[in-house]
Every structure is written in C-alpha cells, then in structure tokens.
Assembly symmetry: C2
Homo-oligomer: 218 residues x 2
Amino acid sequence: MSHTSGVRQARKQQTRQALLDAGLRLLEHQNLSSLGLRELTREVGVSPAAFYRHFPDMADLGVALVDEALGSLHTVIRAVLTETADADELIDRTVAITAAYVTEHRPHVRFIARERHGGVTAVRTAIAAELDRFADEVAAGLGAQPASEGWPADDLHVLAELYVDHMVMTAAAFLEAPPDDPAAHDRITHAARLRLRIISIGRLHWLDPAVRQAATRG
Amino acid sequence: MSHTSGVRQARKQQTRQALLDAGLRLLEHQNLSSLGLRELTREVGVSPAAFYRHFPDMADLGVALVDEALGSLHTVIRAVLTETADADELIDRTVAITAAYVTEHRPHVRFIARERHGGVTAVRTAIAAELDRFADEVAAGLGAQPASEGWPADDLHVLAELYVDHMVMTAAAFLEAPPDDPAAHDRITHAARLRLRIISIGRLHWLDPAVRQAATRG
DNA sequence: GAAGTCAGTGAACAAGTGTTATCCGAAACG
DNA sequence: CGTTTCGGATAACACTTGTTCACTGACTTC
C-alpha cells in the first residue's frame, strides 16, 4: 500500500484539482458538452494526454464537479433544519444561506444551474440524485416538526421537493443578477422570503376542515 | 415589393424551417453551444454556406427556436386565466395544459429547459424575456380576481413569478419522465396539483391578521 | 423576353478536435 | 541502490470545424 506516503499522490491530486478549477472557470460562458479536452488542458498548462490520467471522460469531470458543488451542502442543510425551530427564522436563514452560497461559490452554482437540464446525461442524473437526497433530508426535517401532524409521507415529500426546487430557483435568480448590485440582491431576497412565507402559510392551513374537503374532492 | 408573389420566399422559408426542425432534433442530446453549423446543414441536406442565407449566427437560430417554443403560449395563458373562475379548476387546467404541451411539443420544451440557463447569452435573455411576459400576464390575471384585494402590485408580481417558475419546473419534471409511463405522468400531475394548492391556500390566508403581523414584523 | 435578383453549391482555407503509442524522469519500494 | 511504478510530455493520427469566395440556375421584375 502507498496511501500514507503520497508526495506523488499529492502532486496528482493537485493537477486533478487544477483541471477541476480550470473547467469551472471555462464553464462560466460555456456548456459542459462544448468544453474541449484540449481547451481545458491548455488552460491548466498541461499536455492533452495528461487528462486521461485523471478522468476517462469529460462527463466524469462533470460528475466530479457536481460532487464538489453539492456534496458539502448536506451537512449545512441538516444543521439548519435541526437548529432552527421558528418558521420565520428558518425562512430567513434559508434565504440568507442560499445567497451566501451563491456569492461564495458562484461558478459552482452556475455549473449546477446550467447542467441540471444540460446535454450530458451522467451529469444530469448526478445532479438529480443529489437534489433528491436534499429533498429526503428536508422531508425528514419537516416530519420532525409538530406542524406536520396529519401529513401523509408522500405529500410531505412533495412539499420537500417544492422547497428544494425553490432553493434552486432562488439560487438561479441570484446568479442572473450582477454580483455587485445590492438592490437586485435585496429584491431577490425579499421575493424569495415572500414566496417561502406563502408556501409556509399554505402548509399550515392545508389541513383545515374546509380545505381538506375541497382537496379530497377531486 | 415582392411580399405577395413568393414562390422563392416560400422555398426559402421552407429550408429555414427545415433548419429549425433539424436543430431541434439534434438538440435532444446536445446543448446549443455544442451544435455545429456543419452538423446541422448535413442533417438538413444542404451545403454549409446555405446556413448564412437564413441566420447570421447559431445564437440567432436559437432565438428563433425560443419564439417557436414560447410564442404561441401567450394566447393560451390569457385564455385560461380569463375563462376559469374557480381556483381548483384553474389549477387542474393549468397542470393539464402543461402536461399536454410537453407531450405535444417535447423537443421544444426540452430546448427551453436546457437553454434557460445555458451558455448562449442571447438565447438565455430571450427565454427570460418571454417568461417575464408570462409573469406579467399572470399578474394581470391574478389582479383581476377578488382574492387579490389588499395585495400590493409588487407582491402580486412575485406570486405570478412563482406560478410561472412552477409551471416551468413541472414541465421539466414531465420531461425527465419517460413519455410512455402513465404512472410517472400521474405522479407528477398529482405533485404539481398539490403544490399549486398549497400555494393557493397560502395566498388566500396571506392577509389574515395574525399572518400580516408576522410578515410585516421583519 | 431580356435583365436582375438571390437561395444554394463546391472548393479551399487555416484551425481546431479526441485519442493513441512511445518515451522520460522523478518518486516509491524492496 | 537497483528496480518498478506512474504522472506527464511529445508527436502523430485522421477528422471535424466555421467562414469566405466565385459561381450556377431558377425565379422575379420590367
């Protein structure tokens, strides 16, 4: 075994990371399906053949980027869900965290938004799987709240998916605004909070007798 | 002038349409930014140079596709908004129309979902402009309803954007499911209706005194 | 019916592309 | 300290790419 030594392995992961970083840089104005292997290695300052030492495919590079972009978010989501009790506070924290994540990891978020429905199947399914895990975690968090009494698990999961999709759509909105435009930033924040509140209120009144009757009617 | 005669103009628009159709066909597994000019003209059976007689750019072809995909939807949206009074019926019709549009215009919808955040700026902004117009129309429709009394115009527009984004996200969900899977189709339909009902209920209770206090607090 | 318009052609241009086989040199190992 | 491992370089492979130019021939116009 040689997993402890690693001056070589360190250098290898170093250029692997350089490939990922350069890829992210080039993907700011481009889709993954149009990112060339030579273009990428040229940006890194490495021979084209070197690419194959790290990834068999461009799609594989994309999947690695998905991990980098979304992998670290699971712990954050779980933390927010368990730490926060008050509904309004949870909304505010969620929007604030989304905003912060976009400003701090703009290229990653752009990559996710761009490739979520992009042309590379492997990447698309990797993103979908990650977002599904998010929805599962949110559903679990919602289930632990007293406000979820009487909710079927399926419906709760639909609600969780709505929250996740809303998070993605808010991130995309932040993305489209210029990074240094505080007015636009505030406008998007306000809109996101408003929408989350509407959804939250709808959730609370969902099991009202009159509503329940109307819902089960169709 | 020669806009009445047009045996030539007819032939021209014919191959122009062939370019658009072939483009849509090739974009099923690809992004616009990676669609080659030669690849496209080869599919149509036309020389590469002929492309320039119809579009200066690939981006221009993309913008034309946006028009083709979303242009005809405005009248549909306006019709549904004005014809339907009952809230539940409006939800059902909206979801049904979305589902029908995806099954009937699958390649167009896929194109929109794929290029909404894609790498071609002109196309991205064209889609955004079209969706903004949708939101304006929805906002106008909502404003005409009695349930919107007491809503500020800005908040109403945010709500309209939520509806439009929800429509797009539902269309994308239908897209990801196999076209001939009735179970998946029903599952997505059910989820879309549930989410729309939650939003609708939240909207109705938005101006409740207790809610209003909490909302204006922050 | 002659003159003009113009969608589409065919050829050439200079780059660009992914992928492979072979070799080099420094790190790892016994 | 010799041997093996392996990340990276080099060079060549056979294509594909966008764009331009002069040209042809059917339609339009007068």
